[in-house]
Symmetry: C2
Subunit: 133 residues, 2 copies
DNA sequence: TTTCATTTTTGTAATGATTACATTTTTGAT
DNA sequence: ATCAAAAATGTAATCATTACAAAAATGAAA
């Protein structure tokens, strides 16, 4: 499994052990984890890992466009290794964060602005919570 | 000028002096201010105002749908008294936050989800910074 | 208008995520 | 093997936000 390494290389990020581990975790756990989620998950197998490193690596990944930082959760930033164009939905009942298809959007209404990035955040009730009456 | 009072009433928020002042400030300063901006702006004329009150009032306003909380700025939450459907753009050069027209979006791709709220955030370069070479 | 319960505001202290920074470790080229 | 650059680490600091308890304001009922 060299996917993480390939991604790092293609974004001009040197593939250190920690960077590979963190990106690998993100690729294999599409749960939009927080810094703490990642740190706690990796710590057992990487006891020397520092939480500062998790912060450093994630900032690096985000700055180089290898990972998305989501601010849909008011408490914590959440990270997403899926950088394809898609939207996010957060359930106001259970807090779960879902991937949704990016809606097709008209972009002709922003002349003069050079857009590099778009995030679409939805809030509401997810199907699971809809069924709980 | 009773607009602030009317808005508070229509959202079932009792119009206290502090709530009126904060909402009034938001209505008259469409700059998407932070908690600190608001506190510092009002403090000279309301010396007894507490920053905790600004937090409390804004949480109340947001929970009752009278004001939007924007998380487009990674440092601070920004508040917007314009609750009509519109998008936001943040310039990665100068940090300025702009209102943009909400793009027309197809919503047929989210069956089972009950959507109550949408935020569309754009990042990129604003016209002013585009002209600075 | 006085009384009294409820709501709101206030100030301080606590929390918790994130960053700054100095040190140590690792890396990779020579 | 050497050495400079890059990366990781741990601790301390920062800073936005919240918790909480006390004080103040409000508004309805008597």
């Amino acid at each position: 499994m060299t996917e993480a390494i390939d991604i790092l290389n293609s974004h001009n990020i040197r593939p250190s052990v920690q960077r590979i581990a963190i990106l690998k975790y993100l690729l294999e756990h599409r749960i939009h984890p927080t810094v703490d989620d990642i740190y706690l998950a990796l710590n057992p197998t990487m006891p020397t890992l520092s939480k500062t490193t998790v912060y450093n690596v994630l900032r690096n990944l985000v700055e180089n466009g290898a990972v998305l930082a989501l601010t849909i959760d008011e408490k914590n930033v959440r990270y997403d290794a899926d950088i394809s164009l898609h939207a996010h939905f957060r359930c106001q009942s259970c807090g779960e964060l879902y991937d949704l298809k990016q809606p097709s959007m008209s972009d002709e209404n922003i002349p003069g602005f050079e857009i590099e990035n778009v995030h679409v955040y939805y809030w509401g009730k997810c199907p699971k919570c809809m069924n709980k009456k």
